[in-house]
Symmetry: D2
Subunit: 276 residues, 4 copies
């Protein structure tokens, strides 16, 4: 059983929480706790031995004693639903589809939405609903509204931008606060914006990276979940860098989704607390 | 203030501990807890905001409520003393001497003992006592007894084998249980024993590593603290591998000592719990 | 255009080769050369600017001047054919199927053969022929002969053991010398043989790895192509280690196949020369 | 024997060079070649078996046949001289002093110059001349001129900025073109300029890095030699990040100097070609 808690910090929080768990004869297997002093926020993830305890009742017990506004979840949403947005690149999507198909993703993909039809075939091979919503021939607003409506129909818990090469509007972001995961093809904050691999090539860097982050309304500025890098050298063309980058993008998005779906990621202002 | 606890596991431990801390108005900044189910052992490291609390009194309060045989330490030994044993290779020792000189080691080196005189000069440049105890011209037993006596005079908290190319006898190990840190020049358990780099070269591995571990009476079998690797390739001679290995040995020993001196490493049977 | 050469070493080889290329007005973009002094072997990979040159004619010109027994290939086999053997685990196979489907594997998968039917479904979704050859209910010899026959029908250039949990017999190995790529779920030579993750768990290692190697008749002793590692810690159960290991297995096999299919890997006795 | 060549690219260069070497009965052990098509530049590093050949004569033979303006060096400067500039931080300097003392640096440090006296003691312990040239109490121009004069007296081959926290003026840079190595405490181009660790902390990155580069007249924009990273997490304060960064700074500078002193680094416009 997993318990996650986020609230204002105060003396005695761990004692309150642990006392309640002990009273219920819940043995703590692993506990991670962090206080962000700048924000005065308390974060905790507890793993207790499974028993027949009723989740909702335990949540109530905990909430009663915690500071107002506390976020408490016992076994938070064990059946997470996900919508994936894509453009043309297959690598991140394919990795997600495979894990979803073999039930190792930790969440269920409900559908895939693309502004190109390129990835329809691979989706259909996994009986995955695919919606092609082209951004051409319509206004930006119309396009964004169509995407919004298509996603909303599924009421997903998370939206994954798996190399979705469009900016999502504030109205969309506000519907899924800290629940939109994006993969950015650079070691942020280096090479913000478009064509990061070309910029990396031109700068002659010796490592390229990728960043998985939650989407906020500041482009490429949302809380970073995880980052990875891969070495490159003078023999790499831009194309080689893109290819090397795709490997690390796939890997870093997979890792970020694992952390998020296992309820290991908390957001503290513009940063994450990750109990990995 | 750091509090470390190790004891038999039972329901309610975290509650007991946290309640005591709360009663003393000690605010928990960071808490790491782990239960080893196979050994039924409980491990905890808590960082609380510093206040004027008396360490010894808090230790007593905690001990009273914890299972018999519990190890409890509040600000465990802030002035750790270390004796370093060496042979001829300088890289690990020099790194330790530099950190000791600039007071960033987290412990104080009391002296260096070598079975060769090679490293006497560098020690003296840092006003570090160096004892040359040759293993030649004496019996193995006499040599080991001389080393034992030389170390014992300093009553160190930890003994660091910084590329000490001799096996320490059980009588010595038993005096410093889980307080002797060794650096082994391979990615254990690969290439146990002598000449690991030659063996690695002959096997054609693509990564070589180094392992920092506590010394037990089984050669190269003590609890592993940390491990690192470095890539190698077909162009590496054995000498190149040794050189690359020395870099990673220096780095992995430094990292292990940091973890140990910050009281982040616990031993559970033949493994470590590391709250890094 | 890629040119690969392997032969006995002698003074002047580079001069011969480069002179021939220059005479044909072939501009060298990148050249990698290595001499294994222990084996007196010369290895070279040259990339020249593409032109209309006839591959076979250039091969002849080169062969005429190189020591007897030289292996020379100009644009070696641009359409490599691969048969994949599997058991039950999906992760390595799925990664290969995806790359094959999107034509980024650098080779063409002809069929998949499994001793269990578990992975039949995912193959069929990609229109990939799958043959289920059970090892149960037949003698070991019969089973091995059936596998041999099934593979032979496709005359593949390479056989990939993508978590195929059976040992292939010498008769099979001799048919595809240094053309069978295996992924071993450990950082070889640590944890040779069965259950490496359980052994790694019991040893308390802090890094686990995976090794892609060519298959020889010594179990787990063939030339290593590439190795990768991933950090683990005390909180990992054996199952967690297996999961972490699967990620690195997928990654290391993909990297090895890329190197092999781009003709960057040479074998020198029991080691590889990799011009990565 | 090492031979390095840099010149305009043209067809047949490798053939010319290899023919000359073969005529002198020089056996090539390892050859690395790269052509930068954007700049039309040819780079080569050849390692041949040592013999009694006269370096200067071989240089002449090679130069005669290579395009005008070619840079050719046979055993380029085996006794490289280095001046180190520092401010207050000890970690990079200490690492250099240790390697210099044990003659494993690949170059000889002639003196250390600091704008603070902090590191005088450690230098003197290694009998290393230290000059304290304060930047306070004088004009920027006077200060820069004093530094310039102090360095010039030693006619060094390379100048190493080992955490020298001042910008060197164009007049200084032009005296040592692509021969000033700087360590920048960030994963460039992220966090250019001052206080990179504070910026990294505020951005909540999960990896921090360091970059060794040649100094050009664009601040932090010179050709990158090598980069390394280290993982960080939410529990790191700015101070923790600085400490973690210092480890990686030490390591990346050591690696860069090794590459440079082994004549493995070439500059192609604003990038490096590194035959590592």
């Amino acid at each position: 059983m997993i318990i996650v808690i986020q609230c204002k910090d105060q003396v005695g929080l761990v004692a309150y929480i642990a006392a309640i768990l002990a009273k219920q004869q819940l043995n703590i297997v692993s506990m991670r706790e962090h206080v962000d002093p700048a924000e005065n926020l308390f974060f905790m993830r507890v793993q207790v031995e499974d028993n027949d305890h009723e989740d909702a009742k335990l949540e109530q017990l905990l909430k009663r004693l915690l500071p107002e506004g506390a976020m408490v979840a016992v076994n938070p949403n064990p059946a997470k639903k996900v919508v994936v947005l894509v453009t043309k690149e297959y690598h991140c999507l394919a990795d997600i589809l495979i894990r979803n198909f073999f039930k190792t993703l930790g969440a269920t993909v409900q559908c895939v939405i693309g502004n190109h039809a390129t990835l329809q075939d691979v989706c259909e091979r996994f009986d995955m609903p695919f919606y092609h919503i082209p951004h051409e021939g319509v206004s930006k607003e119309e396009f964004e509204q169509q995407i919004d409506a298509a996603v909303a129909k599924y009421t997903p818990d998370y939206v994954v931008l798996a190399k979705y090469m469009r900016i999502v509007p504030p109205s969309f972001v506000s519907k899924y606060p800290m629940r939109i995961v994006n993969i950015h093809h650079s070691f942020l904050p280096a090479f913000i914006g478009a064509n990061p691999y070309r910029k990396a090539f031109e700068r002659g860097v010796k490592l390229i990276g990728a960043t998985a982050h939650f989407v906020s309304n500041e482009l490429d500025e949302g809380p970073i979940i995880t980052q990875q890098i891969v070495p490159v050298n003078h023999s790499f063309t831009v194309t080689d860098m893109v290819k090397a980058g795709q490997e690390v993008e796939t890997s870093v998005l997979a890792q970020a989704l694992k952390l998020v779906f296992e309820d290991r990621v908390f957001v503290s202002k513009n940063k994450t607390v990750v109990f990995s």
